[in-house]
């Protein structure tokens, strides 16, 4: 394949070379089972312990609070279902309308199982109304699950403020931080968060590994019942290579946090400002102040997102869209709908998400090629002409 400009890092990221390098030995000579009694297997356990320390360090947590799982979705599921099963008398769950499907679909499932679920709305910039949360909390609320940062818009929720409200009501507080870890500084030792989910492949570790942070003292019923691994909280032989890789990735992310915040943010802003200046009738979705440094969701009015992606793809530019057609569903992104983004804009929304591997030259390349491509699609769109005729009439 020729040139690839990868701007879809909220979907998945490239495995860092340093990460791949530390993983390889566990596929070759270090294949022992960490639970084995012999030294050959036992040595592997030490590497898992090291990875646990590395993950704990980026979260500001104690290593005993780190549980390795298979992915972000498992982590979310275990947190919410684990709390519910451990508190059978509490039948109420609170979450938001803009969660990742890993939480949202689970909420729908729980509803069918007789639980009551309250989904909090967001305003036009994707922000929660904390008064709505206060009103929603009940004595039988078992868990409140809120994402740290939104995967589509990058909007960051005021997690600590939320946590204080939740803790005052005695519910468990779960945070899906899949998009936040490695992009925002975290310190769970000074936090109200009880449970936190992260996913390896969003921070340059491989797919197939995730973490659930469980604050000491929080009771959870395991999701996977099996062996004694993970101190009896998750059965199943450890995915050693990936766990080791995730540990290394967390270490790298911790070191690169500043770069992510400065250089990546600068590139993102350059891309965003460049598009806003060169293309008419575009809008940024979500609050621009409280936002991940790497994400921008931009709507191109009067055209459709899949068509934009196909033309970008032809140029080797990878992005994603909240349009209906890209998902296989027929409605545009639930996040943009919850925000009340009008149809003229939601169908034409494109998400660019950067990483530390992106370069300024790549951003220049996108800024050079995107405007004519948008114009080309608008010339095909009947609504663009209608809009311009309306404009002409008005002036």
């Amino acid at each position: 394949m020729s040139r690839v400009v990868y701007l879809d890092n909220n979907a998945t990221t490239r495995v860092a070379d340093e990460v791949a390098a530390v993983m390889l030995p566990f596929y070759t000579e270090l294949y022992g089972n960490p639970s084995s009694m012999h030294a050959f297997g036992g040595q592997v356990a030490r590497h898992i312990a090291q990875a646990r320390d590395q993950v704990a360090a980026i979260l500001g947590a104690d290593p005993t609070e780190i549980l390795f799982v298979s992915c972000g979705s498992e982590s979310d599921n275990m947190a919410i279902r684990g709390v519910l099963e451990a508190n059978p008398d509490k039948r109420h769950v609170i979450s938001t309308r803009v969660e990742h499907p890993a939480v949202l679909s689970l909420c729908n499932h729980l509803r069918k199982r007789g639980y009551e679920v309250t989904l909090l709305g967001v305003d036009g910039e994707g922000r929660l109304d904390l008064a709505e949360l206060r009103n929603a909390l009940r004595p039988d609320t078992a868990v409140v699950s809120v994402m740290y940062a939104n995967n589509e818009t990058g909007v960051v929720f005021p997690v600590e403020e939320i946590g204080q409200i939740v803790k005052a009501h005695g519910a468990a507080f779960h945070v899906d931080a899949v998009q936040a870890v490695g992009k925002l500084p975290l310190d769970l030792s000074q936090s109200t968060i009880d449970l936190l989910s992260l996913s390896g492949h969003k921070l340059h570790a491989p797919k197939g590994v995730g973490v659930l942070y469980i604050r000491k003292g929080i009771r959870l019923v395991p999701l996977i019942i099996g062996g004694h691994q993970e101190r009896n909280r998750r059965g199943g032989t450890e995915n050693v290579a990936s766990i080791v890789g995730l540990g290394r990735a967390c270490e790298l992310a911790r070191a690169a946090l500043r770069e992510e915040n400065d250089r990546v943010r600068r590139l993102r802003d350059k891309l965003e400002d460049g598009i806003l200046h060169s293309v008419p009738n575009v809008r940024v979705n979500g609050n621009r102040e409280h936002r991940l440094p790497n994400t921008t969701s931009i709507s191109f009015e009067y055209i459709e997102g899949e068509a934009i992606l196909l033309l970008l793809d032809q140029l080797g530019i990878c992005a994603s869209s909240g349009s209906a057609c890209t998902s296989g569903s027929l409605e545009p992104s639930h996040v943009l709908r919850a925000m009340g983004v009008p149809f003229t804009a939601s169908h034409g929304s494109i998400r660019f998400s950067l990483s530390r591997y992106n370069t300024e030259a790549e951003i220049d390349y996108v800024l050079e090629h995107l405007p004519p491509l948008i114009e080309r699609l608008r010339n095909i769109s009947p609504f663009w002409k209608d809009y311009q005729e309306q404009l002409a009439k008005r002036s």
Partner: protein, 285 residues
């Protein structure tokens, strides 16, 4: 990622006949920005009712643009009657197939063509829908019972999922799934019963536009000339479901036996050539 054929990609990356058509004889438009796709098609038609030029504009995904482009290539040079014979499946076939979830793009092409032909004859949009035109089944995407029935019938659909793929109905809040299921069931019954009752000559049920065009044609060619010989005339006012509303003109307007003319000449002919359930009603203007 969708698996698009090379032909789809070609028609998306290099769409044929894009743009406006000043002085177009007909415009057809379907879809809306809310639904996520829309198609506007312009036709230039000569006195032989042949489509001599065609343009389109699409708001939509890759396959919506490709399907519209394909349609324009398919209708160019055809008479309106010939063009109306094109099915959504033929549009999809022209492109080497569409992903199942994208079949509604081909249906949109077919609908826009119908709208344009209707527009050419000065008919309104409401004539596009079948008998149960008014009833909207899927409120999320504004899909009528008539359209659902049609895609189920023409494409042999058997599940809600397929119906959603073909016309979007049921793809939103899902509250209409029971209704869709019922329609599928009814059409399936039709399929079982049809072979026994129906003679082979009628391959598929006429669409409303086709039916109206046929009625017009029969009136023009079979009925008006004989009435005109006696200084009378007849005019088609409207078609509402199976009701054909006509107005009598000239000597016919005051003729005491016009009722008989309508019953025995007009209605009988229309029933013979168009559909057995037609009923002709005279409106006084």
């Amino acid at each position: 990622m969708w698996e698009y054929t090379d032909k789809v990609k070609d028609h998306f990356f290099n769409p044929r006949n894009v743009g406006d058509l000043p002085g177009a004889d007909a415009v057809g438009e379907v879809g809306s920005i809310a639904c996520g796709d829309a198609l506007r098609i312009y036709l230039k038609v000569d006195d032989q009712k042949r489509i001599v030029d065609v343009r389109f504009k699409t708001f939509g995904c890759g396959s919506a643009i490709a399907a519209a482009s394909a349609l324009t290539e398919m209708v160019k040079g055809k008479t309106l009657d010939e063009a109306m014979q094109i099915t959504n499946q033929q549009i999809a076939d022209f492109l080497g197939g569409l992903p199942p979830e994208k079949m509604h793009c081909s249906v949109m092409g077919r609908e826009a063509l119908e709208a344009a032909v209707a527009n050419y004859y000065g008919l309104e949009r409401k004539h596009l829908e079948e008998e149960d035109e008014g009833r909207i089944i899927c409120h999320c995407f504004g899909v009528t019972e008539g359209l659902i029935r049609k895609v189920v019938r023409e494409n042999n659909l058997n599940s809600i999922e397929e119906v959603t793929n073909y016309c979007k109905a049921g793809g939103g809040c899902q509250s209409c799934h029971m209704d869709i299921e019922e329609i599928i069931h009814e059409v399936r019954q039709e399929r079982v019963e049809t072979p026994a009752k129906q003679p082979a000559r009628e391959q598929r049920k006429l669409t409303n536009v086709e039916r109206i065009l046929k009625i017009k044609e029969i009136l023009e060619e079979e009925i008006r000339p004989s009435l005109q010989q006696d200084g009378g005339d007849i005019e088609l006012v409207d078609v509402e479901g199976s009701k054909v509303l006509v107005a009598m003109r000239g000597t016919c307007a005051s003729c005491p036996s016009s009722e008989l003319t309508i019953r025995w000449a007009v209605e009988a002919k229309l029933r013979e050539f168009v559909a057995a359930d037609l009923q002709v009603v005279e409106v006084k203007s």
